[in-house]
Amino acid sequence: MVLTNQLDKLLMKVEKPGRYTGGEWNSVTKDLSGIKTRFGFAFPDTYEIGMSYLGLQIIYHILNKEDSVFCERVFAPASDMEALMREEKLPLFTLETKSPVKDLDILGFTLQYELSFSNLINMLDLSGIPVKSNQRTEADPFIAAGGPCAFNPEPLADIVDFFMLGDGEEILPEVCKAHENWKESGTEKEEFLKTLVQIPGIYVPRFYKPVYREDGTIESIERTYEKAPVHVEKRIVEDLNTVDFPEHCIVPFIDTVHDRAVVEIFRGCTRGCRFCQAGMIYRPVRERSKDKIKEISLSQIESTGHEELTILSLSTSDHSEIEPLVQELMGVCRENNVSLSLPSLRLDSFSFKVLEEIQGYKKSGLTFAPEAGTQRLRDVINKSITDNDIYHAMEKAIELGWSNIKLYFMVGLPTETFEDLDGIAEIARNITDLNYRITGKRGRFNVTISVSNFVPKAHTPFQWFPQDTADLFHKKHQYLKDKLKSMKGVTFQYHGTEVSYMEAVFARGDRRLADTLIKAVELGCKFDGWREHFNYGLWIKALEETGIDPDFYACRERAYEEILPWDLIDSGVTKEFLLEENQNAIKGSQSVDCRRGCIGCGINQRVNCTMEGTL
């Protein structure tokens, strides 16, 4: 069944119909007769957000390379479209062939953000697929998920059939191959899941059963299928130069958040910031070679006509060949009339030289993330920036003519006191003073202090810490607001505490939250990552109606010996290491960047860690 005609009638009535049409350059069409596995790559947000996500392009490319697999895209329709679809009984469809999602074999969601869980549920509902896995029939597709939030998959354990952990390049084709074999065998769906657990990196939640104590903590996690692994090890692509990277990327017709050529230059990060989940779960650092990056860049520019190129990683400046790489990319861009953009640069002298060259007098804002206001607290979180680094970089920036500076901080970090907040204000004041000293003027210079609320994440050294209560967050925000409002040229921005609180609940939640999620969607929660859609009242109602105390998840300090819901997921970084780092944090003792020497996170027990001790 193809829904083109039904869809056409709705497109005249909705905002940005280009979200729903497909047919873009480099999108793939296949003859369905040769296809054994129809895979839906589902992004639980709108087209514009999903199409800006590099992982989509990678997975789309990797899967469609396989002759027997057809990967199509599925996005969440915006509210106006959803209302019409429900009215006209038009089910959720794929962009490529406008097929109902229900016709697919596997629907795989990427989980980038906890608050997108509501959209996942809503998308299943829109597809006419029962939300809970035990209510689905043999005719329904398998529901899969991956991405960073799969590292604590438990809130979705009753909903998703299987999770894929770690890098997707190798595991996805393996899953499709297994699916093809299973399909030929003609056995029941359960049999497929039983074969899947033999593939490393696959977690099938129905094969595990947590047993809870009276106080709500986990007593044990029992396996209900003996062949399911005790720990699920994430998948690691050892050499990025050997896996395919998309060169013929889909080029959206309509304006998206990021509409540009993108090359991932390395995966992982060696810095070891203790709050950062990405820094832990993407280990070890694996670089793509300079030549490979250049080759991909050129090919992408040629096949897309993009006018901007960017390179992606967790910390651009840490690539071991960054200087020649940037020089050469600047050359490529100049020749092709393409602009180069370099995110997450460390503000050293090389970066300034490069920024000066690529931006010239057209300076955009400069951003910098000290994360905490005092050296003490930066030691706690292992953010290896000193006051000196900050002021040195700012001095240089002001001298070169930057007049818009944005600094990112977190509040609610473990051990934080009001003195640390004073530190944030002091940094703001010192920078405006610095500007006055250098330029002799106070006007036309702005420092934005942007503050987010710390959310403790699974698989980090801070996974045991409580989140600040809403009251305390409010006090801290107010305190900073009062301190900063009298400062000329300083703007203060902060995030709502309610969103951060819900993030904290689901970031470290367990399977008992599935009913809460389902209830919340029933009540109307969706697009919760969007400020204008997030409805705290409905979430609280859903929590109450399902008998869940959110503080148990967000604001409770865990004991070291407690079994955590995500303990059966093995990120390659050992729990012992996280624990040691937790204690180092409390002592305020820094750990070195692992390029300066191995600090024993455990990942090199699994794969070769090429970066250790290279500095």
Binding site: K9, L11, M12, K13, P17, G18, Y20, T21, G22, G23, E24, W25, V251, F253, I254, D255, E302, S303, T304, G305, H306, E307, N336, N337, K362
Partner: protein
Amino acid sequence: MSRYVVKFYKEGVLRYISHLDLLRLFKRSFKREEIRLQYSQGFNPHPKMSFAQPLSLGYSSSGEYLEFETTQPYPVEEIKEKMNLILPEGIGILSCSELPDSGKTLAAMTDAADYEISIPCAEERGVDINQLVEAYLTQIEIIVLKHQRKSGKDVELDIKPMIHDLKGFVDRNSIMLKCKISAGSTANLSPELLLSSFCSHSLIPYERTEVTIKRTEIYFTG
């Protein structure tokens, strides 16, 4: 430096791609085919390229015009072939020709445009479409309410002088209006206004989302 104009069609899913999105698509197509566009000078250089008339979202067309300047001359056949190779399904170049520099843009020279408006009719009404069109056109004035975006008010407007030609046809379950109406900067009539005005005068009920509108030609002065 050379100046060209391409005539192209836009149909299918490409109907849902807006004016700005289409401009970007052309820009990227030229880039991919290595047809080097002339860029404007200044802080924010952009390629010298513009449409004769924007086409509303949802309309199809068999007569759109895009003018552009290149840094070097290209054979017109080569431009057409190369672009058709790369343009996505739903859009294609019908012809390409050199555009002598008259000091005026196509947008400034646009004078009128042809449209085909297709209105589905649910029941067999046995309408005499010719009579309806005649009755409509014999009015001394054809007054419509036009919404002024600036003031936010609806003002009365006589559109009769802007209707150069109007014919009606009945084809099974739909009424087709073919018209030539003013377009451009001096006088511009939106086919939406003609549609609503004609249908209300002729007592033809319709659902806007069921109506399809296609532009078939643009006329230029000079």
